[in-house]
């Protein structure tokens, strides 16, 4: 496996991991599991409703920065950075 292929493999792994979290908070907690989660209250918010209209968006922001930071590290590790 070349250096480029190894880098791409690591990138794919990270991306899939992030997308799983992305799917769980939005489609999982916000849509598919909204009914059971709504039985739990977060202040005045039913939890499922909160994920659908607030929480998932906060997680999206965190995810992108986590991905961007980790990729910057990988770029350096595999020496594929732009100069």
């Amino acid at each position: 496996m070349t250096n480029g292929e190894a880098y791409w493999k690591k990138n794919l792994k990270l991306m899939i991991g992030c997308l799983i979290v992305w799917f769980i908070v939005s489609f999982g907690f916000g849509i598919l599991l909204v009914h059971p989660l709504n039985n739990i209250m977060l202040g005045g918010y039913p939890l499922g409703f909160w994920f659908a209209q607030q929480g998932s968006m906060y997680v999206f922001v965190i995810l992108i920065f986590f991905y961007a930071n980790t990729m910057t590290k990988y770029d350096r590790e595999f020496d594929v950075e732009e100069d």
Binding site: G4, G43, Q54, Y58, V61, L63, M71
Partner: protein, 592 residues
């Protein structure tokens, strides 16, 4: 000073700011007009992307839809933010590495064919025009209220202004103007939310106010109270799911994927200085977008609460429990002038009864109250955000500010899309494929004709749009999701998809989605030509807005199967794919 004078003043002032910045910045940036984000810090580029992105749909329309849809509106909230995650991880860094300026250019090169490029142009124009129709609705609403005229008059005036704005370059590519627009937009959106949140719950942070208890001493949470208010009038609970799970799921997916396939958003990441910046810019863009998107649910719920309380002044069912029409507040009369708000006295008592007369279970109760049907026969969802500060009796300057924000949002995005349409025609079609000898002057003329044509088409269709602004925009996202996104994604993540597969995929995706939309919304969105009715004829219960996700799946499947059956991808294209996956060696973006 009257409200109208204040509005003129504030709208005028904000425009003076944009134009001043545009003139100051233009001197330095005419040479690299296309390279909008170059040398700009990712934070500022993210802010400018936010302004580009947030249109009349986000600013004017979305919170109104939330107010009436409740939980189900999470499709717009998650759909239009979650797409940035997809964008940051699957497209933006690679498109930046590729280093060209337009989406059709990438598709044309990756799939080594003019036919693929032309197909991409057709897809791009189809979704952009649909998008502009939605914007036109929003523009019509904003201008009709701002000038206190009928909706159609407001729309025609708005069309003219959009055209002039777009021909002048729409102040596009001038990142600093967009940063100013973002500041006006977000300030205009959050100030009333802070005021109203504080009035209702004592908490000035809208995101927290929505989950807080009311200050009326009852100790009841805002959302719980809203549920009670509307259930008492025969509506479904605000926090409950009304749509089928399938539709909520598909529409969210369709909007997310569509976000990642929209040309005017993608273009901002083609031109940032480095691949790394493309990733971070996407993150910052989402930070600034989320500021508005996490405020919107609070705006929607509070607007609904205040509106219900305006009409229902006393206990439900008591003869004096409803507002006298003669006592209606000034916002009511103002919006009546636009024709977007209408009241009919069905039971002849001179009072306003607003309730859900489609709920059979509530009929008996309504009859016992002496109510003869819902008397608010028209409440256009798209007026809610603009009317919201008036309903809450906020100071004139806040109301004026919201009008200024709405107009800025609608104009900037509409102009940006018109530029995308005209450059696709003049640059990607005429100059590169059909009329290679065209000179610069002719290219400019062609792009203006295309722009004028697009404004007129979108304006006329915007008079009787196939839905509220945000819903029409959702259709545009479905079209982008089904055509452009899969072609881009497969171009990066697969070395096996060839030109025949990509073209067949794009055509299947956009063709099926367009057909499904036209069947329910009318051929070419012309009112009254729809062969099938909504929603009882929906295939498997799928809403036309949600079909983009299905179209995208069809696109992937067809592209894969056709590629398998036809010629392999040439060696040099496989190397190109390997190359775009690695940041090293990215030069600055170049034309052609």
């Amino acid at each position: 000073m009257t409200l109208q004078a204040t509005t003129y003043l504030v709208v005028g002032l904000t425009f003076a700011i944009y134009i001043t910045i545009a003139i100051l910045a233009r001197a330095k940036s005419t040479s690299d007009f296309y390279v909008a984000g170059k040398g700009v810090h990712p934070v500022l580029n993210g802010m400018a992307t936010g302004a580009d992105w947030m249109s009349a749909a986000s600013f004017i329309s979305m919170a109104g839809l939330i107010a009436f849809m409740g939980y189900d509106a999470c499709v717009y909230l998650m759909g239009w933010t979650g797409g940035y995650v997809v964008l940051a991880m699957m497209l933006a860094p690679y498109l930046r590495k590729f280093g060209k300026f337009t989406v059709p250019e990438f598709i044309g090169d990756r799939y080594y064919s003019h036919a693929a490029r032309i197909t991409a142009v057709v897809c791009l124009i189809t979704c952009s025009i649909t998008y502009v129709i939605g914007q036109m609705k929003g523009i019509g609403v904003a201008f009709s209220r701002f000038l206190e005229v009928e909706f159609s008059t407001g729309l025609f005036i708005g069309m003219g202004i959009v055209f002039v704005y777009a021909v002048l370059g729409g102040m596009k590519g001038i990142t600093y103007t967009q940063i100013a627009q973002y500041c006006v937009l977000i300030f205009a959106y959050t100030v009333p939310a802070v005021f109203i949140g504080f009035q209702l719950t004592g908490n000035p942070v809208p995101q927290l106010a929505l989950g807080s208890t009311l200050t009326d001493g009852s100790g009841v949470h805002l959302l719980a109270k809203l549920n009670t208010i509307i259930v008492d009038l025969g509506f479904a609970e605000y926090t409950a799911q009304k749509w089928s799970t399938l539709n909520v799921f598909l529409l969210t997916l369709s909007l997310m994927v569509g976000t990642a396939g929209l040309p005017h958003v993608l273009i901002r990441f083609f031109t940032v200085p480095k691949v790394r910046d493309a990733r971070f810019s996407t993150g910052w863009a989402l930070v600034f977008i989320s500021l508005l998107y996490t405020t919107a649910p609070a705006v929607g719920a509070m607007a609904r609460t205040n509106m219900m309380n305006t009409f229902q002044t006393g206990p439900v069912g008591s003869p004096t429990g409803n507002l006298l029409y003669a006592d209606r507040p000034s916002w009511f009369t103002n919006w009546e002038k636009t024709g977007l708000l209408k009241w009919v006295d069905k039971n002849g008592d001179g009072r306003i009864q607003y309730y859900n007369d489609k709920n059979k279970a509530f009929d008996e109760k309504a009859a016992s109250y002496g109510w003869k049907g819902n008397e608010m026969v028209k409440i256009d969802r798209d007026i809610m955000v603009l009317a919201n500060p008036e309903i809450a009796n906020l100071p004139f300057w806040v109301i004026a500010l919201v009008a200024a924000g709405g107009i800025a949002a609608a104009l900037s995005t509409a102009a940006g899309l018109l530029l995308a349409i005209s450059s696709a025609i003049s640059h990607d079609l005429l100059k590169s494929v059909f009329m290679k000898n065209i000179n610069e002057k002719q290219e400019l003329l062609a792009s203006r004709i295309a722009m004028a044509f697009a404004v007129i088409v979108a304006g006329i269709l915007g008079l009787h749009p196939p839905g509220f602004a945000a819903q029409v925009v959702a259709l545009a996202f479905g079209l982008a999701a089904s055509s452009i996104f899969p072609a881009l994604m497969m171009g990066i993540f697969s070395k096996r998809i060839n030109r025949t597969g990509a073209i067949a995929g794009m055509l299947t995706g956009i063709g099926s989605t367009l057909l499904y939309i036209f069947l329910y919304k009318g051929w070419f969105f012309i009112q009254g030509t729809a062969p099938l009715a909504e929603p009882q004829d929906w295939l498997l219960g799928i809403n036309p807005q949600s079909f983009g996700a299905v179209g995208a799946v069809l696109n992937f499947v067809v592209a894969f199967l056709v590629s398998k059956a036809t010629e392999p991808v040439p060696e040099h294209i496989q190397h190109l794919v390997e190359d775009i996956r690695i940041p090293k060696g990215a030069g600055t973006a170049v034309s052609h």
